[in-house]
């Protein structure tokens, strides 16, 4: 929901409408009439103004420019030059737009609408806070705005009267192609009515004559003359065009019955397209500044929120690490307190003791004797010699047996070597075969030692099949 103020400055009188807008439905909350001198006081602490002025003198020119020229800056300079040539030397605020139907060969006709800057600013200066001005224009463009909003025809007239003033605008393709403002200073009502009808019909006839290629379909009336049926009838008869009355009550609420007719210019102020709004450079600067400030505000807020988010995430991660640190620290403190640290002297004493135990427990004759048990089960050894010194240990076992047949010797050898093959562990086993096959005397010396040493004896045989 937006709230804004529509300010219509007509000489020394100011009409202010406070408007609420929501979903393109406008609601006039209050209407107030004040003097121009009270305006700045009234607008204190209020935002969003749509301003419209009564300005007798306005620029309404059609200027031919070569179609090849497209640069805005150049077009503006040409327009200014031509206007200065033809009429005044006053400073101008103007907008222009090409009128497509009036293309003339290699040239394009531009409709130029503008205001005289000094007079315009004189009125505008009464509004103190220029940064809050959303739109500023003159009456005829405000009428154009409300007419376009109410009427969806392509080419038509819109005529508005208030006090003793009459504004006639001609709209074609949503562009204002002709306008005329006139003051009728006659008190006699009948006389005034007659002149008003004359003025309107003559203007319509002139426009129809001037813009022959355009077919006008409608005359839209608003303001004080819309209530007079005689005038409506006369205009209809004399122009031959359909006549209607602007009635914005469908989308503008808060004004009863005919009330909108007296505020038509104010109501049109917020429908004025950009091309008919006139801003002095300072307002444009202020608007740009306001826009930049808003963008910057959005950007700074976004940066703030993003950095806050990341700062929070980082803080979260940091606090978890800190918690972990506290846990680890207390665990370390506890362990440091609980763990007994022995002196180097004590430790070296214990190590020495362990070394003694290791030395005396490392080698025992039982170990290799158990290792050769499968062989002993086959044949009791004739003698066993075990010795140990320093890190070396060796066991020699001599196995002897006599056979009557070679077959028996062969079978025994097979069993013996199979058993010898199965000796496992970290001990190295070698043998020396002294079997006499002539006398059938089996004799093998098996040597088991804890480390490999170069010997003349054979390594373990391949398994006999």
């Amino acid at each position: 929901m937006n709230r804004f103020y529509s300010i219509s400055i007509q000489n020394d009188d100011v009409c202010i409408l406070a408007v609420q807008s929501k979903n393109n439905i406008f609601s006039v909350e209050t209407q107030q009439y004040i003097k121009l001198s009270e305006l700045s006081q009234f607008l204190k602490n209020k935002t969003s103004y749509y301003v419209t002025f009564a300005q007798e003198e306005a620029v309404d020119e059609k200027i031919l420019i070569e179609s090849a020229i497209k640069n805005d800056h150049v077009i503006r300079r040409i327009i200014l030059g031509k206007i200065f040539e033809s009429c005044a030397t006053k400073k101008l605020l103007f907008n222009y737009c090409p009128i497509s139907e009036l293309k003339n060969g290699s040239k394009i006709t531009y409709q130029v609408d503008g205001v005289y800057e000094d007079e315009y600013l004189h009125s505008l200066k009464k509004v103190d806070n220029w940064s809050q001005i959303k739109s500023a224009t003159i009456n005829k463009f405000a009428l154009f705005g409300i007419s376009c909003e109410c009427i969806k025809e392509n080419s038509y007239f819109s005529i508005h009267t208030f006090d003793n003033k009459i504004i006639i605008i001609v709209i074609h393709d949503n562009t204002l192609i002709f306008s005329r403002e006139h003051t009728i200073a006659i008190d006699n009502l009948e006389e005034r009515k007659k002149i008003l009808i004359e003025e309107i019909t003559q203007t319509i006839a002139y426009v129809q004559q001037h813009f022959r290629e355009i077919e006008f379909s409608l005359i839209a009336l608003s303001g004080s003359l819309s209530a007079d049926d005689d005038i409506l009838e006369h205009i209809y008869i004399l122009s031959g065009l359909g006549v209607c009355v602007l009635y914005p009550n469908t989308f503008i609420r808060g004004l009863e019955n005919e009330e909108p007719q007296s505020h038509m210019v104010s109501l049109g102020s917020w429908f004025v397209p950009k091309k008919y709004q006139f801003y002095p450079t300072s307002i444009l600067g202020l608007n740009q500044y306001g826009f930049a400030i808003k963008v910057l505000l959005g950007f700074s807020a976004a940066v703030f929120f993003i950095t806050s988010f990341f700062a929070y995430k980082q803080y979260d991660s940091y606090s978890k690490t800190l918690q972990n640190h506290e846990v680890v620290k207390s665990r370390l403190a506890q362990l440091t307190q609980d763990t007994k640290i022995y002196s180097d002297e004590d430790l070296s004493h214990y190590i020495q003791h362990i070394q003694i135990v290791q030395k005396y427990m490392q080698y025992h004759p039982i170990d290799p004797l158990i290792a050769i048990r499968p062989l002993v089960e086959l044949q009791k050894p004739q003698n066993i010699a075990w010795e140990h010194f320093d890190e070396f240990m060796r066991l020699n076992a001599v196995f002897k047996r006599s056979f009557h047949t070679l077959e028996a010797l062969y079978q025994f050898e097979k069993l013996f070597f199979n058993s010898l093959q199965t000796l496992s562990g970290t001990l190295y086993a070698t043998y020396q075969n002294k079997t006499n096959y002539a006398t059938l005397d089996f004799e093998i010396t098996v040597t088991i030692q804890n480390m490999k040493q170069p010997t003349n004896s054979k390594e373990l045989p391949r398994k006999r099949r």
Binding site: A311, Q314, H325, I356, V357, Y360, Y363, H364, F389
Partner: protein, 162 residues
């Protein structure tokens, strides 16, 4: 005038947040490095504690049991010889001599192969107070002969009693 103030405040706060982020990052990295060191220290202490448990349950009590004064060690060795001389036909090869924290005596033995009980007894010799180390073992048809070293752990003068 309010909006520029808010914008400035936003940017100042954002800058503050960024510096906080940097500070948190830096401090977190330091904490993580410290935690890593602490965890390594904890692992080391746990290992030490584990070794301590083993030392206290397996090593230190043994040392306490076995360690005796040098003179007592000599007496123990002599006592062992006298007690087992006849059973294993012991013969002194090398009289009491010093090893590393031990007093040693080298003995030769001679047992009949047929006396299996004695042979098994000799091979299974175990004593809480001393060590036996076979140096030689020869088994032939009739005799089992060899050399055995008896080691008696004892205190060195420099060692503080545990």
């Amino acid at each position: 005038m309010r909006l520029p103030l808010i914008i400035t405040l936003n940017f100042v706060l954002s800058a503050l947040m960024i510096s906080y982020i940097e500070w948190f990052k830096q401090d977190e990295a330091n904490l993580k490095a410290l935690n890593s060191t602490y965890i390594k220290d904890i692992e080391k202490l746990e290992k030490i504690s584990h070794i301590n448990q083993w030392l206290e349950s397996r090593v230190i009590p043994n040392i306490k049991e076995r360690l005796c004064e040098a003179e007592e060690a000599d007496k123990n060795l002599i006592e062992f010889y006298d007690l087992n001389k006849e059973a294993y036909n012991l013969y002194i090869n090398k009289y009491i001599y010093e090893g590393n924290d031990t007093k040693n005596m080298e003995l030769s033995y001679d047992i009949s192969t047929h006396d299996k009980t004695k042979l098994i007894e000799l091979l299974m010799l175990r004593d809480d107070n001393r060590f036996f180390q076979f140096k030689e073992l020869c088994i032939d048809k009739d005799r089992v002969v060899g050399v055995i070293e008896v080691a008696q752990p004892c205190k060195k003068a420099s060692h503080v009693s545990q």
